[in-house]
Symmetry: C2
Subunit: 224 residues, 2 copies
DNA sequence: TCGGGTATTTTTGAATGCAAAATGATCGCC
DNA sequence: GGCGATCATTTTGCATTCAAAAATACCCGA
Protein backbone atom coordinates (compact mmCIF):
# COMPACT_ATOMS: atom_id res chain seq x y z
CA UNK A 1 0.00 0.00 0.00
CA UNK A 2 1.26 3.44 -0.82
CA UNK A 3 2.09 5.90 1.88
CA UNK A 4 1.71 9.45 0.61
CA UNK A 5 -2.02 9.55 0.31
CA UNK A 6 -3.52 11.81 2.89
CA UNK A 7 -2.32 15.04 1.35
CA UNK A 8 -3.45 14.48 -2.20
CA UNK A 9 -6.65 16.36 -2.61
CA UNK A 10 -9.81 14.47 -3.52
CA UNK A 11 -10.62 17.49 -5.64
CA UNK A 12 -10.94 15.52 -8.85
CA UNK A 13 -14.54 16.62 -8.90
CA UNK A 14 -16.64 14.49 -11.16
CA UNK A 15 -18.56 16.02 -13.99
CA UNK A 16 -21.91 15.23 -12.44
CA UNK A 17 -20.98 17.00 -9.23
CA UNK A 18 -19.88 20.10 -11.09
CA UNK A 19 -23.18 19.95 -12.91
CA UNK A 20 -25.09 19.69 -9.65
CA UNK A 21 -23.40 22.82 -8.36
CA UNK A 22 -23.79 24.79 -11.56
CA UNK A 23 -27.42 23.88 -11.90
CA UNK A 24 -28.10 24.64 -8.27
CA UNK A 25 -26.58 28.09 -8.76
CA UNK A 26 -28.79 28.63 -11.78
CA UNK A 27 -31.82 27.68 -9.73
CA UNK A 28 -30.82 29.79 -6.74
CA UNK A 29 -30.35 32.78 -9.00
CA UNK A 30 -33.89 32.30 -10.13
CA UNK A 31 -32.91 32.10 -13.79
CA UNK A 32 -35.61 29.53 -14.36
CA UNK A 33 -39.00 30.55 -13.17
CA UNK A 34 -40.97 28.38 -10.82
CA UNK A 35 -42.88 25.54 -12.34
CA UNK A 36 -41.24 25.89 -15.71
CA UNK A 37 -39.97 22.84 -17.54
CA UNK A 38 -36.29 22.21 -17.28
CA UNK A 39 -34.84 22.34 -20.77
CA UNK A 40 -32.63 19.27 -20.58
CA UNK A 41 -31.04 19.57 -23.99
CA UNK A 42 -30.50 23.29 -23.60
CA UNK A 43 -28.70 22.87 -20.29
CA UNK A 44 -26.51 20.17 -21.80
CA UNK A 45 -25.41 22.69 -24.38
CA UNK A 46 -24.88 25.36 -21.76
CA UNK A 47 -22.80 23.21 -19.43
CA UNK A 48 -21.11 21.31 -22.22
CA UNK A 49 -22.04 17.92 -20.86
CA UNK A 50 -24.09 15.06 -22.19
CA UNK A 51 -27.42 14.05 -20.84
CA UNK A 52 -26.13 11.37 -18.48
CA UNK A 53 -24.38 13.60 -15.92
CA UNK A 54 -27.10 16.21 -16.29
CA UNK A 55 -29.80 13.70 -15.49
CA UNK A 56 -27.82 12.46 -12.51
CA UNK A 57 -27.67 16.04 -11.33
CA UNK A 58 -31.42 16.38 -11.74
CA UNK A 59 -31.97 13.37 -9.51
CA UNK A 60 -29.77 14.81 -6.81
CA UNK A 61 -31.39 18.23 -6.95
CA UNK A 62 -34.78 16.58 -6.81
CA UNK A 63 -33.68 14.84 -3.62
CA UNK A 64 -32.63 18.25 -2.31
CA UNK A 65 -36.05 19.65 -3.10
CA UNK A 66 -35.12 22.10 -5.83
CA UNK A 67 -36.69 20.17 -8.63
CA UNK A 68 -39.76 18.08 -9.14
CA UNK A 69 -39.39 14.92 -11.18
CA UNK A 70 -42.49 13.91 -13.09
CA UNK A 71 -41.93 10.50 -14.66
CA UNK A 72 -42.08 10.67 -18.42
CA UNK A 73 -43.23 14.24 -18.29
CA UNK A 74 -40.02 16.08 -17.60
CA UNK A 75 -38.74 17.92 -14.58
CA UNK A 76 -39.89 21.28 -13.39
CA UNK A 77 -38.44 23.86 -11.06
CA UNK A 78 -40.04 23.20 -7.70
CA UNK A 79 -42.54 26.00 -7.26
CA UNK A 80 -42.07 28.15 -4.19
CA UNK A 81 -45.15 27.60 -2.12
CA UNK A 82 -45.54 30.30 0.55
CA UNK A 83 -46.94 27.65 2.85
CA UNK A 84 -43.77 25.64 2.38
CA UNK A 85 -41.62 28.67 3.06
CA UNK A 86 -43.44 29.18 6.33
CA UNK A 87 -42.76 25.55 7.17
CA UNK A 88 -39.09 25.90 6.39
CA UNK A 89 -38.79 28.89 8.72
CA UNK A 90 -40.76 27.10 11.41
CA UNK A 91 -38.38 24.16 11.35
CA UNK A 92 -35.39 26.41 11.03
CA UNK A 93 -36.50 28.11 14.20
CA UNK A 94 -36.05 24.89 16.12
CA UNK A 95 -32.58 24.48 14.69
CA UNK A 96 -31.58 28.09 15.30
CA UNK A 97 -32.58 27.58 18.90
CA UNK A 98 -30.35 24.53 19.13
CA UNK A 99 -27.54 26.40 17.42
CA UNK A 100 -27.75 29.05 20.11
CA UNK A 101 -27.66 26.51 22.92
CA UNK A 102 -24.69 24.65 21.50
CA UNK A 103 -22.64 27.43 19.93
CA UNK A 104 -22.56 29.40 23.16
CA UNK A 105 -20.91 26.45 24.86
CA UNK A 106 -18.72 25.02 22.15
CA UNK A 107 -17.44 27.93 20.11
CA UNK A 108 -13.66 27.98 19.96
CA UNK A 109 -11.62 31.19 19.91
CA UNK A 110 -11.28 30.66 16.16
CA UNK A 111 -15.06 30.47 15.84
CA UNK A 112 -15.38 33.69 17.79
CA UNK A 113 -12.83 35.43 15.58
CA UNK A 114 -14.50 34.27 12.42
CA UNK A 115 -17.96 35.32 13.53
CA UNK A 116 -16.79 38.71 14.74
CA UNK A 117 -15.06 39.22 11.43
CA UNK A 118 -18.12 38.41 9.35
CA UNK A 119 -20.22 40.55 11.62
CA UNK A 120 -17.90 43.51 11.05
CA UNK A 121 -17.93 42.97 7.30
CA UNK A 122 -21.71 42.96 7.33
CA UNK A 123 -21.67 46.44 8.77
CA UNK A 124 -19.67 47.74 5.84
CA UNK A 125 -21.54 46.01 3.01
CA UNK A 126 -25.15 47.13 2.98
CA UNK A 127 -25.65 46.44 -0.74
CA UNK A 128 -28.16 43.62 -1.24
CA UNK A 129 -25.87 41.11 -2.92
CA UNK A 130 -23.02 41.34 -0.44
CA UNK A 131 -25.43 41.53 2.44
CA UNK A 132 -27.27 38.37 1.42
CA UNK A 133 -24.00 36.50 1.02
CA UNK A 134 -22.41 37.74 4.23
CA UNK A 135 -25.61 37.22 6.17
CA UNK A 136 -25.65 33.63 4.95
CA UNK A 137 -22.04 33.28 6.02
CA UNK A 138 -22.75 34.80 9.44
CA UNK A 139 -25.40 32.26 10.24
CA UNK A 140 -23.39 29.47 8.72
CA UNK A 141 -20.45 30.39 10.94
CA UNK A 142 -22.67 30.27 14.01
CA UNK A 143 -23.99 26.88 12.94
CA UNK A 144 -20.42 25.67 12.45
CA UNK A 145 -19.61 26.75 15.98
CA UNK A 146 -21.90 23.98 17.25
CA UNK A 147 -19.26 21.55 15.94
CA UNK A 148 -22.09 19.31 14.86
CA UNK A 149 -21.60 18.64 11.13
CA UNK A 150 -24.95 16.89 10.80
CA UNK A 151 -26.66 19.98 12.10
CA UNK A 152 -24.63 22.20 9.81
CA UNK A 153 -25.55 20.17 6.77
CA UNK A 154 -29.24 20.04 7.61
CA UNK A 155 -29.25 23.74 8.37
CA UNK A 156 -27.52 24.43 5.07
CA UNK A 157 -30.09 22.44 3.15
CA UNK A 158 -32.91 24.41 4.72
CA UNK A 159 -31.17 27.70 4.04
CA UNK A 160 -30.75 26.77 0.41
CA UNK A 161 -34.45 26.19 0.10
CA UNK A 162 -35.27 29.78 0.95
CA UNK A 163 -32.13 31.39 -0.41
CA UNK A 164 -33.77 32.31 -3.68
CA UNK A 165 -36.13 34.51 -1.73
CA UNK A 166 -33.64 36.25 0.46
CA UNK A 167 -32.26 38.74 -1.99
CA UNK A 168 -35.76 40.09 -2.42
CA UNK A 169 -36.03 40.90 1.26
CA UNK A 170 -32.49 42.16 1.50
CA UNK A 171 -33.25 44.82 -1.02
CA UNK A 172 -35.34 46.53 1.59
CA UNK A 173 -33.11 48.89 3.62
CA UNK A 174 -35.52 48.98 6.51
CA UNK A 175 -35.42 45.25 7.02
CA UNK A 176 -31.66 45.17 6.49
CA UNK A 177 -31.13 47.74 9.23
CA UNK A 178 -33.49 45.90 11.53
CA UNK A 179 -31.75 42.64 10.75
CA UNK A 180 -28.39 44.14 11.59
CA UNK A 181 -29.72 45.31 14.93
CA UNK A 182 -30.85 41.77 15.65
CA UNK A 183 -27.38 40.56 14.73
CA UNK A 184 -25.93 43.00 17.25
CA UNK A 185 -28.15 41.56 19.95
CA UNK A 186 -27.12 38.06 18.89
CA UNK A 187 -23.47 39.03 19.16
CA UNK A 188 -23.92 40.40 22.64
CA UNK A 189 -25.37 37.11 23.82
CA UNK A 190 -22.75 35.14 21.89
CA UNK A 191 -19.84 37.07 23.40
CA UNK A 192 -21.30 36.54 26.86
CA UNK A 193 -21.84 32.85 26.10
CA UNK A 194 -25.39 33.35 27.31
CA UNK A 195 -26.84 30.22 25.78
CA UNK A 196 -30.51 30.70 26.56
CA UNK A 197 -30.44 34.28 25.37
CA UNK A 198 -28.48 33.42 22.27
CA UNK A 199 -30.96 30.66 21.47
CA UNK A 200 -33.92 32.95 21.95
CA UNK A 201 -32.45 35.77 19.89
CA UNK A 202 -31.52 33.48 17.03
CA UNK A 203 -34.99 31.97 17.00
CA UNK A 204 -36.57 35.40 17.13
CA UNK A 205 -34.36 36.71 14.35
CA UNK A 206 -35.38 33.71 12.28
CA UNK A 207 -39.03 34.35 12.99
CA UNK A 208 -38.82 37.99 11.97
CA UNK A 209 -36.90 37.17 8.81
CA UNK A 210 -39.47 34.56 7.93
CA UNK A 211 -42.27 37.04 8.40
CA UNK A 212 -40.50 39.59 6.23
CA UNK A 213 -40.00 37.01 3.50
CA UNK A 214 -43.63 35.96 3.64
CA UNK A 215 -44.86 39.53 3.55
CA UNK A 216 -42.77 40.08 0.44
CA UNK A 217 -44.14 36.93 -1.12
CA UNK A 218 -47.66 38.13 -0.48
CA UNK A 219 -46.73 41.43 -2.07
CA UNK A 220 -47.29 43.36 1.10
CA UNK A 221 -45.14 46.28 2.09
CA UNK A 222 -42.19 45.34 4.18
CA UNK A 223 -42.50 47.93 6.87
CA UNK A 224 -43.70 46.04 9.92
CA UNK B 1 -55.98 21.42 -21.74
CA UNK B 2 -57.51 18.24 -20.45
CA UNK B 3 -59.69 18.19 -17.41
CA UNK B 4 -59.65 14.79 -15.74
CA UNK B 5 -56.13 14.87 -14.40
CA UNK B 6 -56.17 15.09 -10.66
CA UNK B 7 -57.31 11.51 -10.02
CA UNK B 8 -54.83 9.69 -12.19
CA UNK B 9 -52.12 8.43 -9.92
CA UNK B 10 -48.54 9.54 -10.49
CA UNK B 11 -47.57 6.03 -9.48
CA UNK B 12 -45.71 5.29 -12.68
CA UNK B 13 -42.62 4.99 -10.56
CA UNK B 14 -39.49 5.29 -12.61
CA UNK B 15 -36.90 2.59 -12.58
CA UNK B 16 -34.31 4.73 -10.91
CA UNK B 17 -36.66 5.55 -8.07
CA UNK B 18 -37.45 1.90 -7.50
CA UNK B 19 -33.74 1.29 -7.48
CA UNK B 20 -33.18 4.02 -4.91
CA UNK B 21 -35.73 2.40 -2.63
CA UNK B 22 -34.46 -1.14 -3.11
CA UNK B 23 -30.88 -0.13 -2.56
CA UNK B 24 -31.77 1.90 0.49
CA UNK B 25 -33.52 -1.12 1.94
CA UNK B 26 -30.46 -3.22 1.29
CA UNK B 27 -28.33 -0.64 3.07
CA UNK B 28 -30.74 -0.26 5.97
CA UNK B 29 -30.78 -4.01 6.45
CA UNK B 30 -27.05 -3.88 6.79
CA UNK B 31 -26.49 -6.39 4.01
CA UNK B 32 -23.42 -4.50 2.94
CA UNK B 33 -20.96 -3.85 5.68
CA UNK B 34 -19.71 -0.37 6.39
CA UNK B 35 -16.94 0.91 4.26
CA UNK B 36 -17.18 -1.91 1.76
CA UNK B 37 -17.14 -1.21 -1.94
CA UNK B 38 -20.49 -1.18 -3.62
CA UNK B 39 -20.52 -3.92 -6.22
CA UNK B 40 -22.07 -2.00 -9.05
CA UNK B 41 -22.26 -4.79 -11.57
CA UNK B 42 -23.53 -7.25 -8.98
CA UNK B 43 -26.36 -4.96 -7.92
CA UNK B 44 -27.34 -4.45 -11.55
CA UNK B 45 -27.78 -8.18 -11.83
CA UNK B 46 -29.70 -8.37 -8.58
CA UNK B 47 -32.10 -5.57 -9.41
CA UNK B 48 -32.28 -6.40 -13.09
CA UNK B 49 -31.39 -2.91 -14.23
CA UNK B 50 -28.58 -1.47 -16.24
CA UNK B 51 -25.89 0.72 -14.81
CA UNK B 52 -27.55 4.02 -15.70
CA UNK B 53 -30.47 3.91 -13.24
CA UNK B 54 -28.28 2.24 -10.66
CA UNK B 55 -25.72 5.02 -10.84
CA UNK B 56 -28.45 7.61 -10.62
CA UNK B 57 -29.62 5.87 -7.47
CA UNK B 58 -26.10 5.96 -6.07
CA UNK B 59 -25.95 9.71 -6.54
CA UNK B 60 -29.23 10.18 -4.72
CA UNK B 61 -28.25 7.92 -1.85
CA UNK B 62 -24.96 9.75 -1.59
CA UNK B 63 -26.90 12.99 -1.22
CA UNK B 64 -28.91 11.29 1.52
CA UNK B 65 -25.72 10.31 3.29
CA UNK B 66 -25.92 6.54 2.92
CA UNK B 67 -23.11 6.25 0.46
CA UNK B 68 -19.77 7.90 -0.11
CA UNK B 69 -18.79 8.67 -3.66
CA UNK B 70 -15.08 8.59 -4.33
CA UNK B 71 -14.40 9.84 -7.84
CA UNK B 72 -12.82 7.17 -10.00
CA UNK B 73 -12.47 4.88 -7.05
CA UNK B 74 -15.97 3.57 -6.61
CA UNK B 75 -18.60 4.11 -3.98
CA UNK B 76 -18.55 2.73 -0.48
CA UNK B 77 -21.19 2.25 2.16
CA UNK B 78 -20.90 5.30 4.40
CA UNK B 79 -19.26 4.03 7.57
CA UNK B 80 -21.22 4.55 10.74
CA UNK B 81 -19.19 6.92 12.82
CA UNK B 82 -20.35 6.93 16.46
CA UNK B 83 -19.54 10.62 16.62
CA UNK B 84 -21.87 11.22 13.71
CA UNK B 85 -24.58 9.15 15.36
CA UNK B 86 -24.32 11.32 18.44
CA UNK B 87 -24.67 14.37 16.23
CA UNK B 88 -27.75 12.99 14.54
CA UNK B 89 -29.42 12.38 17.88
CA UNK B 90 -28.40 15.81 19.12
CA UNK B 91 -30.04 17.49 16.16
CA UNK B 92 -33.00 15.16 16.31
CA UNK B 93 -33.51 16.27 19.88
CA UNK B 94 -34.17 19.81 18.71
CA UNK B 95 -36.66 18.56 16.18
CA UNK B 96 -38.41 16.22 18.61
CA UNK B 97 -38.83 19.18 20.90
CA UNK B 98 -40.43 21.17 18.11
CA UNK B 99 -42.63 18.21 17.20
CA UNK B 100 -43.92 18.17 20.75
CA UNK B 101 -44.69 21.88 20.74
CA UNK B 102 -46.52 21.76 17.44
CA UNK B 103 -48.20 18.38 17.53
CA UNK B 104 -49.85 19.13 20.84
CA UNK B 105 -51.53 22.13 19.28
CA UNK B 106 -52.24 20.96 15.76
CA UNK B 107 -53.07 17.27 15.95
CA UNK B 108 -56.44 16.52 14.41
CA UNK B 109 -58.80 13.85 15.76
CA UNK B 110 -57.55 11.65 12.93
CA UNK B 111 -53.97 12.18 14.07
CA UNK B 112 -54.98 11.23 17.60
CA UNK B 113 -56.71 8.07 16.40
CA UNK B 114 -53.76 7.04 14.30
CA UNK B 115 -51.23 7.62 17.06
CA UNK B 116 -53.34 5.80 19.65
CA UNK B 117 -53.68 2.90 17.26
CA UNK B 118 -49.95 2.58 16.61
CA UNK B 119 -49.29 2.93 20.31
CA UNK B 120 -51.66 0.03 21.04
CA UNK B 121 -50.08 -2.10 18.36
CA UNK B 122 -46.67 -1.46 19.85
CA UNK B 123 -47.86 -2.99 23.10
CA UNK B 124 -48.72 -6.23 21.36
CA UNK B 125 -45.63 -6.61 19.16
CA UNK B 126 -42.56 -6.85 21.32
CA UNK B 127 -40.51 -8.77 18.73
CA UNK B 128 -37.57 -6.69 17.51
CA UNK B 129 -38.59 -6.41 13.85
CA UNK B 130 -42.19 -5.35 14.45
CA UNK B 131 -41.15 -3.14 17.31
CA UNK B 132 -38.58 -1.27 15.26
CA UNK B 133 -41.07 -0.74 12.46
CA UNK B 134 -43.97 0.31 14.67
CA UNK B 135 -41.75 2.50 16.78
CA UNK B 136 -40.64 4.26 13.63
CA UNK B 137 -44.26 4.66 12.63
CA UNK B 138 -45.21 6.00 16.05
CA UNK B 139 -42.70 8.80 15.86
CA UNK B 140 -43.47 9.44 12.25
CA UNK B 141 -47.15 9.81 13.10
CA UNK B 142 -46.32 12.32 15.79
CA UNK B 143 -44.17 14.25 13.35
CA UNK B 144 -46.99 14.20 10.82
CA UNK B 145 -49.30 15.69 13.43
CA UNK B 146 -47.27 18.90 13.23
CA UNK B 147 -48.72 19.33 9.74
CA UNK B 148 -45.38 20.67 8.66
CA UNK B 149 -44.25 18.56 5.71
CA UNK B 150 -40.79 20.12 5.61
CA UNK B 151 -40.26 19.07 9.19
CA UNK B 152 -41.58 15.58 8.47
CA UNK B 153 -39.21 15.13 5.58
CA UNK B 154 -36.18 16.40 7.45
CA UNK B 155 -37.08 14.26 10.44
CA UNK B 156 -37.47 11.26 8.17
CA UNK B 157 -34.06 11.79 6.66
CA UNK B 158 -32.45 11.91 10.06
CA UNK B 159 -34.30 8.81 11.21
CA UNK B 160 -33.11 6.95 8.16
CA UNK B 161 -29.54 7.76 9.03
CA UNK B 162 -29.73 5.90 12.31
CA UNK B 163 -32.30 3.29 11.34
CA UNK B 164 -29.69 0.68 10.58
CA UNK B 165 -28.68 0.82 14.22
CA UNK B 166 -32.08 0.64 15.75
CA UNK B 167 -32.79 -3.03 15.37
CA UNK B 168 -29.69 -3.72 17.41
CA UNK B 169 -31.01 -1.75 20.33
CA UNK B 170 -34.51 -3.07 19.93
CA UNK B 171 -33.26 -6.58 20.48
CA UNK B 172 -32.67 -5.70 24.06
CA UNK B 173 -35.87 -6.39 26.02
CA UNK B 174 -34.85 -4.10 28.86
CA UNK B 175 -34.51 -1.08 26.61
CA UNK B 176 -37.71 -2.01 24.73
CA UNK B 177 -39.69 -2.08 27.98
CA UNK B 178 -38.17 1.19 29.09
CA UNK B 179 -38.86 2.72 25.72
CA UNK B 180 -42.48 1.68 25.92
CA UNK B 181 -42.81 3.31 29.32
CA UNK B 182 -41.46 6.51 27.81
CA UNK B 183 -44.05 6.18 25.06
CA UNK B 184 -46.75 5.91 27.70
CA UNK B 185 -45.58 9.14 29.29
CA UNK B 186 -45.50 10.75 25.87
CA UNK B 187 -49.06 9.65 25.22
CA UNK B 188 -50.26 11.09 28.51
CA UNK B 189 -48.87 14.49 27.58
CA UNK B 190 -50.14 14.18 24.03
CA UNK B 191 -53.68 13.35 25.10
CA UNK B 192 -53.65 16.29 27.49
CA UNK B 193 -52.23 18.52 24.74
CA UNK B 194 -49.59 19.54 27.24
CA UNK B 195 -47.18 21.00 24.75
CA UNK B 196 -44.22 21.78 26.98
CA UNK B 197 -44.41 18.40 28.64
CA UNK B 198 -44.82 16.61 25.33
CA UNK B 199 -41.81 18.45 23.95
CA UNK B 200 -39.70 17.61 26.96
CA UNK B 201 -40.69 13.96 27.01
CA UNK B 202 -40.02 13.52 23.32
CA UNK B 203 -36.63 15.16 23.64
CA UNK B 204 -35.82 13.04 26.67
CA UNK B 205 -36.93 9.85 24.95
CA UNK B 206 -34.71 10.77 22.04
CA UNK B 207 -31.79 11.39 24.35
CA UNK B 208 -32.19 8.06 26.10
CA UNK B 209 -32.55 6.20 22.84
CA UNK B 210 -29.44 7.89 21.52
CA UNK B 211 -27.51 6.88 24.59
CA UNK B 212 -28.67 3.30 24.28
CA UNK B 213 -27.62 3.20 20.65
CA UNK B 214 -24.22 4.66 21.45
CA UNK B 215 -23.69 2.21 24.30
CA UNK B 216 -24.44 -0.61 21.91
CA UNK B 217 -22.05 0.81 19.35
CA UNK B 218 -19.33 0.95 21.94
CA UNK B 219 -20.08 -2.65 22.80
CA UNK B 220 -21.14 -1.83 26.31
CA UNK B 221 -23.94 -3.61 28.05
CA UNK B 222 -27.28 -1.97 27.55
CA UNK B 223 -28.47 -1.97 31.11
CA UNK B 224 -28.27 1.63 32.22
C1' DT C 1 13.08 -13.95 -2.79
C1' DC C 2 11.88 -9.44 -2.87
C1' DG C 3 11.11 -4.87 -5.00
C1' DG C 4 9.99 -2.00 -8.73
C1' DG C 5 8.18 -1.21 -12.91
C1' DT C 6 5.20 -2.49 -16.80
C1' DA C 7 1.34 -4.76 -18.95
C1' DT C 8 -3.31 -6.61 -18.45
C1' DT C 9 -7.71 -6.70 -16.53
C1' DT C 10 -11.38 -4.62 -14.19
C1' DT C 11 -14.04 -0.84 -12.99
C1' DT C 12 -15.59 3.67 -13.41
C1' DG C 13 -17.41 7.95 -15.84
C1' DA C 14 -19.62 9.80 -19.55
C1' DA C 15 -21.52 9.83 -24.53
C1' DT C 16 -24.31 7.84 -27.68
C1' DG C 17 -28.16 5.12 -29.38
C1' DC C 18 -32.71 3.25 -29.22
C1' DA C 19 -37.48 2.37 -27.78
C1' DA C 20 -41.49 4.23 -25.48
C1' DA C 21 -44.13 7.89 -23.88
C1' DA C 22 -45.80 12.50 -24.20
C1' DT C 23 -46.45 16.63 -26.82
C1' DG C 24 -48.03 19.06 -30.65
C1' DA C 25 -49.90 19.39 -35.38
C1' DT C 26 -52.77 18.10 -39.05
C1' DC C 27 -56.84 16.36 -40.82
C1' DG C 28 -61.46 14.63 -40.86
C1' DC C 29 -65.97 14.76 -38.92
C1' DC C 30 -69.96 16.68 -36.84
C1' DG D 1 -66.44 26.73 -37.30
C1' DG D 2 -65.53 23.84 -33.36
C1' DC D 3 -64.22 19.33 -31.63
C1' DG D 4 -61.95 14.97 -31.59
C1' DA D 5 -58.91 11.49 -33.45
C1' DT D 6 -54.75 10.08 -35.85
C1' DC D 7 -50.09 10.85 -37.09
C1' DA D 8 -45.48 13.19 -36.84
C1' DT D 9 -42.19 15.23 -33.77
C1' DT D 10 -40.01 15.87 -29.63
C1' DT D 11 -38.65 14.43 -25.25
C1' DT D 12 -37.80 11.14 -21.88
C1' DG D 13 -35.95 6.76 -19.77
C1' DC D 14 -32.87 3.35 -20.08
C1' DA D 15 -29.35 0.22 -22.30
C1' DT D 16 -25.27 -0.02 -24.52
C1' DT D 17 -20.82 1.47 -25.81
C1' DC D 18 -16.37 3.68 -25.44
C1' DA D 19 -12.49 5.89 -23.25
C1' DA D 20 -9.91 6.71 -19.19
C1' DA D 21 -8.53 5.63 -14.65
C1' DA D 22 -7.60 2.35 -11.04
C1' DA D 23 -6.62 -2.21 -9.45
C1' DT D 24 -4.31 -6.33 -10.23
C1' DA D 25 -1.14 -9.50 -12.22
C1' DC D 26 3.07 -10.27 -14.25
C1' DC D 27 7.83 -10.00 -15.29
C1' DC D 28 12.43 -8.83 -14.78
C1' DG D 29 16.50 -7.55 -12.28
C1' DA D 30 18.94 -7.28 -8.12
Amino acid sequence: MSLARQDEEPEAVSLHEQTVNKLRTVLLNGELSDGSRIPEAQLCLRFGVSRTPLREALKVLAAEGFIELRPNRGSIVAPIDPVDVAHVFELKGAIENQIGLLAALRATPQDHDRIEQVHRELATHPDPTSYTELNQEFHRALATATHNPVLVQTYDNLQKRVLRLRFVVNENPVRVAQSFDEHEAIMVAFRARARLDLAERLAEHNRLTGEAVLRTLRGEDLAP
